[in-house]
């Protein structure tokens, strides 16, 4: 693959805390690359160091072969940026904003085509503040793409959008990729990462915890089926003692039990419940999703350790968190 972006051991420290702690990854040309992670994981900081908007404290960044800290203007000529908070003057009209931003660049994009693709035609005469959140987001996407950039950076583009608007946004991002653009986006919606991204880097506390194709990340979770049910009187400790059970957790009265053979697990749990007289409701089978992986990661070391211990004790290899993920 030809790398559009190469990030090596990137670091950023704010006064009292290290926000980015040795992040490395590459983004291929034409790829949709996702950075996911909970709030405060360092996504925005990483993005803005790639855009040359924040000074880094260590490591290196190459964007289209250039260092954005050294040649910010040459880099900005060829990248498009959308911030988490859309920001243009409230009373500026959409067509005026497009013309203004287009005039900032030497390179000229096909603005008419962009307007058609984003469906902005009916809104060109509207001022920015009169648009709904979804349309404001489209305008800011248009501003990021107005000069036909090679790379587009999107910081949480779908935050605050309703599900329908979010799906439309995905279509537009795919459309931009079809024009050969490289897309780097951050999100905290796992579904978005799964649907949209070719590869996903999962950030946790300023580090890359996992990096892979979403379907391979999901596959890691595939062996990780579980049952869950609601019960007021079941004993977690007793369930964990069952030989076929790897691990049991309780959240808000919902008990989730993991094991390699979930059918066996279900049977064993039901038999146990019957003998102890527990009441079990809403029993269902479920498969691990990217969301589970995210929750696991966001939960940090504690849950990761517990899982590893759990599987080690039973001598079963399933998902080993935080290992073997590495950088591609």
């Amino acid at each position: 693959m030809t790398a559009a972006i190469v990030v090596k051991d990137l670091r950023k420290r704010y006064k009292d805390r290290e926000a980015v702690r040795g992040v490395s990854f590459e983004v291929a040309q034409g790829e949709i690359f996702g950075i996911v992670g909970p709030n405060g994981a360092g996504k925005t900081t990483t993005l803005e160091m790639m855009e040359g908007l924040r000074r880094r404290d260590g490591g290196s960044v190459q964007v289209l072969g250039m260092d954005p800290a050294r040649e910010p203007y040459r880099v900005r000529e060829r990248i498009g940026v959308q911030f988490q908070m859309t920001a243009i003057q409230e009373k500026m009209r959409v067509d005026e904003a497009l013309a203004l931003f287009a005039s900032f660049y030497r390179r000229r994009g096909d603005v008419a085509k962009l307007i058609a693709m984003l469906g902005l035609q009916p809104y060109l005469g509207q001022s920015f503040k009169n648009l709904s959140g979804g349309w404001q987001q489209r305008v800011s996407l248009a501003l990021a793409a107005v000069h036909d950039p090679e790379i587009i950076f999107l910081d949480e583009p779908s935050t605050g959008l309703d599900p329908a608007a979010r799906r439309e946004l995905w279509e537009m991002i795919r459309g931009l990729r079809e024009q050969g653009k490289t897309i780097v986006l951050t999100t905290h919606y796992m579904e978005e990462a799964e649907q949209l991204c070719d590869r996903v880097a999962m950030f946790r506390e300023g580090e890359v915890a996992l990096l892979d194709q979403p379907k391979r990340l999901v596959a890691r979770m595939a062996g990780w089926d579980y049952i869950d049910f609601v019960s007021d009187d079941a004993s977690l400790a007793d369930i964990e003692r069952l030989p076929c059970v790897q691990r049991a957790v309780e959240t808000d009265g919902c008990i989730r039990v993991h094991g390699d053979d979930v059918q066996q697990v279900a049977l064993a749990v039901l038999v146990l419940a019957d003998s102890r007289g527990w009441r079990i409701r809403n029993l269902r089978f479920a498969a691990g999703t990217l969301d589970d992986l995210f929750v696991l990661l966001a939960g940090g070391e504690a849950s990761g350790e517990a899982r590893r211990e759990g599987s080690a004790a039973k001598g079963e290899g399933s998902v080993a968190m935080g290992e073997g993920s590495g950088v591609v």
């Binding site: 908007l53 940026v81 911030f83 920001a87 003057q89 900032f104």
Partner: protein, 246 residues
Amino acid sequence: MRSFVNLARSEVRLFFRERQAVFWTFLYPMLMIWLFGVIFGKQKLGGVSYAGMYVPSWIGVSVLTIALYTIGTTLTAYRERGILKRYQATPVRPWTVLGAHVVYGVLVLVLTAAVMIAEGRLLFGLTMPKSVGGVLFATLLSVFALFPFGLLLASLAKNVRSAAALSALVLNIMLLFSGATFPLAIFPAFLRSLAHWLPLYYVIDLLRTAWNQKGFAGSWSDVWVLLAIGVVSIALASRTFRWQDA
């Protein structure tokens, strides 16, 4: 160059969409000239007609209000709303953005001045300056001193509200005590010496001289003080001015 022209044009366009801003910028000085004209209109002040004193003086005040609000407070708002950061993510140079704002401010100033001069001629028999070049020079020098001064104040403010409050404070002190409104002669000595600490005092003195005399005789010190205010403000503002919050 294309981005410079477009930015300036865009600012002017946005300005005229702000009804309140337009009202205050144009109507307020006109009202004040009229009001003070009702009070002092028939008097000769230091051998000069009312209009000859007050129209140049209000041109000076306009330079200050534009510096404080049209430039300073607006840029603080742009910083707070992330608009400056959005520009930063493009190839536009910081000096292009600032330069465009200066040009836009000068344009608003020219329009305000034209309106006030017209009013002075129609209502108060304003005579045109002996040396138009002298007035232009004095005005440009005032812009050179006060626009960076406004930017400096704005860069010291945490947010738009404190920028606006700071601007209001500075504007009111200068309006009262720099001789722009009430003649300094009516104040006690210690208030008169306060005037010498206010940049607007030098702007007003120079503009009045330029309008009513040939040459700056007796006012060259104003020129040097204003040059110094401009240079110092630019030096300080280029250190304190931020493009994004924190």
